[in-house]
């Protein structure tokens, strides 16, 4: 579905240092790929390149084997949707109005939302478990509720690929789990491809099919979660000692850390 081919990218004011150096990565239909790495490693930049917001210096971004450089903004928006954390909006707006903006890629230049648009928006709210918020003001929702409404808006785009940029930042563990459960369900039911950038290693290990580890703009490892998540690889990635255990119920890898500077003998 989405293919990144040998992507090189550097920000104009940071040249010659490359932010992304030769990353090749695929996301297939029905699959969730987690992108992990330290702060500033280039994860969000890679998402921006995938959706066409940034043009790579070299390399190709392909969607169904076609370069996205040849697509219009609307054509891209009908294929991929981005979900990031949404803060407060400075204008009063209901959640339904917010989700209806997701229909932009299918609209004429102006004109009103068709009954079909409203129907899709309501269905999307339902699919994101947020139908009960439809008529409430977006700004009055909690951050966890906003996330679900934001997910609903991305579903209203009827995309085939979701790009999630730290969608669970600032959410409590229950909201994190329910959001990822929802997204995981969508990959199964609708064959949606998902690429997620997150700092929650353990959640990524539980939900993602594959993991791509990125550091200083380079792909360090990429593969099935259980193969990639080794103590050695992760410790090197984050430059801090980490241990890998297994979740008592699901058997997924679980990362343990150690207090910096702590010594075993301290525990007596």
């Amino acid at each position: 579905m989405l293919q990144l081919r040998d992507i090189h990218f550097s920000y104009p004011n940071q040249r010659p240092r490359e932010t992304i150096s030769g990353v090749t990565l695929d996301v297939r239909a029905g699959e969730m790929v987690a992108l992990l790495g330290p702060n500033g490693s280039g994860k969000s930049t890679l998402l921006s390149i995938a959706i066409g917001a940034l043009k790579p210096d070299s390399g190709d971004v392909l969607f169904d084997d076609e370069p996205i450089a040849g697509f219009s903004r609307r054509e891209i928006a009908q294929r991929m949707a981005m979900v990031a954390e949404q803060g407060a909006i400075r204008f009063p707006m209901t959640a339904l109005e917010y989700v209806l903006t997701g229909r932009y890629a299918y609209s004429t230049a102006f004109g009103f939302d068709s009954p079909r648009d409203v129907e899709i928006a309501m269905q999307s709210l339902g699919a994101a478990d947020a139908a009960q918020f439809a008529h409430r003001r977006f700004n009055q929702l909690s951050s966890g509720e906003r996330q679900r409404v934001t997910l609903a808006r991305s579903l209203a785009q009827q995309p085939r690929l979701l790009l999630l940029d730290e969608p669970t930042a600032n959410a409590d563990i229950a909201h994190q789990l329910s959001l990822l459960d929802l997204v995981r369900g969508l990959t199964r039911e609708r064959g949606l491809g998902v690429m997620i950038v997150t700092h929650e290693i353990n959640l990524a290990a539980e939900f993602a099919d594959r993991m791509a580890l990125i550091k200083d703009g380079r792909l360090v490892a990429c593969g099935a979660t259980r193969e990639v998540m080794t103590a050695e690889t992760l410790s090197e990635l984050f430059e801090t000692p980490l241990f890998v255990d297994h979740h008592p119920l699901s058997g997924s890898p679980v990362v343990w850390w150690m207090r910096t500077g702590s010594r075993i003998e301290d525990r007596g």
Partner: protein, 349 residues
């Protein structure tokens, strides 16, 4: 499907903008504008009953003898009617520009006057008067250029996302700077006429020339139409530019179109009627309060609401202390400044 009461005042039942709600709001506003225009036409030192106005208007159109005296005829058709048309044009232009700037800058405090864009237009107009008075339409064109440059600078200075007050601060700096330049220019040219013009730039519709009136009305029609075509994209830009881009909006194009159109509107309005403040701030805010934030309605509703606001302010300005006249801009500022403070306090919460 859910049907619940919404928090907006008009168009009960739906939490999004329907054609019905848009039509209701627009019709009510148009009727109000028409009513006030007739009232404004009859009010003044020479009172003409509203009942006499329609026969007079019809006889004017078909060229028969007017039921009005010659003095009345001159007052109504040569003085009041152009002035009312000017108030409507200037008000609509400033309000639409304000609605455009607010959505584009994601800032409910944005207004051509507050941002210093009106100051840019004023400086442009004055430059035209001093250096290019021979060129026809030089005043509105220079006004437009001044507004466009001021917008660009303020946008660069105040782009910071997190704090709406930052942009306003940039606008204040811009305004004070431009006012000083205008004062210096008028002082150095030592021209009595120019001093009068400076006063007029504070917002006075009494001396608008026909040339300016035509330019304003054309600018409003074209500008509002352009912004309405961008209103759906602006709905997305209002939430966030990065999101809007990801959702299919050509953000760079929309930014340029809205920026230039709002500058054109401000340039036309200011070069014709002076820097009348706060119209672009108050009107879109009231429109949103009444009918939600969807720009497909906020922009046309602001156009009519802005026309209404300036028409009312100007009628007060010329009748309250008659025969003395107050600057129209002073009246709008009396209404607008408290609203601005309210919005500022709200945005800081």
């Amino acid at each position: 499907m859910y049907i619940m009461k919404t928090e907006t005042l008009i168009g009960q039942g739906k939490s999004y903008l329907t054609v019905r709600r848009a039509l209701i709001v627009i019709s009510v506003l148009l009727l109000a504008l028409l009513g006030f225009a007739v009232a404004a036409l009859s009010l003044g030192s020479e009172h003409v009953a509203a009942g006499q106005l329609f026969p007079a208007l019809i006889s004017k159109l078909i060229g028969t003898a007017s039921p009005l005296s010659r003095e009345q005829d001159v007052i109504i058709f040569s003085l009041r009617l152009p002035r009312i048309a000017m108030a409507i044009g200037v008000g609509a232009a400033l309000a639409v520009a304000g609605a455009g700037f607010q959505a584009l800058l994601r800032n409910p405090l944005a207004d051509p006057y507050v941002l210093g864009v009106s100051g840019g237009a004023a400086l442009g107009s004055i430059t035209a008067i001093i250096f290019a008075s021979g060129l026809s339409y030089s005043r509105p064109l220079f006004g437009f250029a001044g507004a466009a440059i001021a917008t660009l600078i303020v946008y660069r200075l105040g782009k910071r996302e997190d704090d709406p007050a930052h942009l306003v601060l940039a606008g204040v700096v811009m305004s004070t700077f431009l006012s000083s330049v205008i004062v210096l220019m008028t002082a150095m040219t030592d021209n009595v006429k120019l001093r009068n013009i400076t006063l007029w730039l504070l917002g006075d519709l009494s001396s608008g020339a026909v040339e300016g009136l035509i330019f304003v009305l054309i600018a409003v029609a074209v500008g509002a139409a352009i912004l309405v075509t961008q209103s759906r994209a602006l709905n997305l830009m209002m939430i966030g530019e990065r999101d809007a881009f990801a959702m299919g909006v050509e953000t760079a194009r929309v930014r340029w179109v809205v920026h230039l159109t709002a500058s054109l509107l401000t340039g036309a309005a200011v070069s014709a009627g002076g820097a009348i403040g706060y119209v672009g701030l108050v009107t879109p805010h009231l429109a949103r309060l009444a009918a939600g934030s969807d720009n497909r309605l906020v922009i046309p509703a602001s156009a009519i609401g802005g026309a209404l606001m300036v028409l009312i302010a100007d009628t007060i300005a010329r009748t309250a202390l008659a025969p003395r006249e107050l600057p129209t801009g002073a009246i709008t500022a009396l209404i607008g400044a408290p609203v601005f403070v309210y919005l500022l306090l709200k945005s800081r919460k």
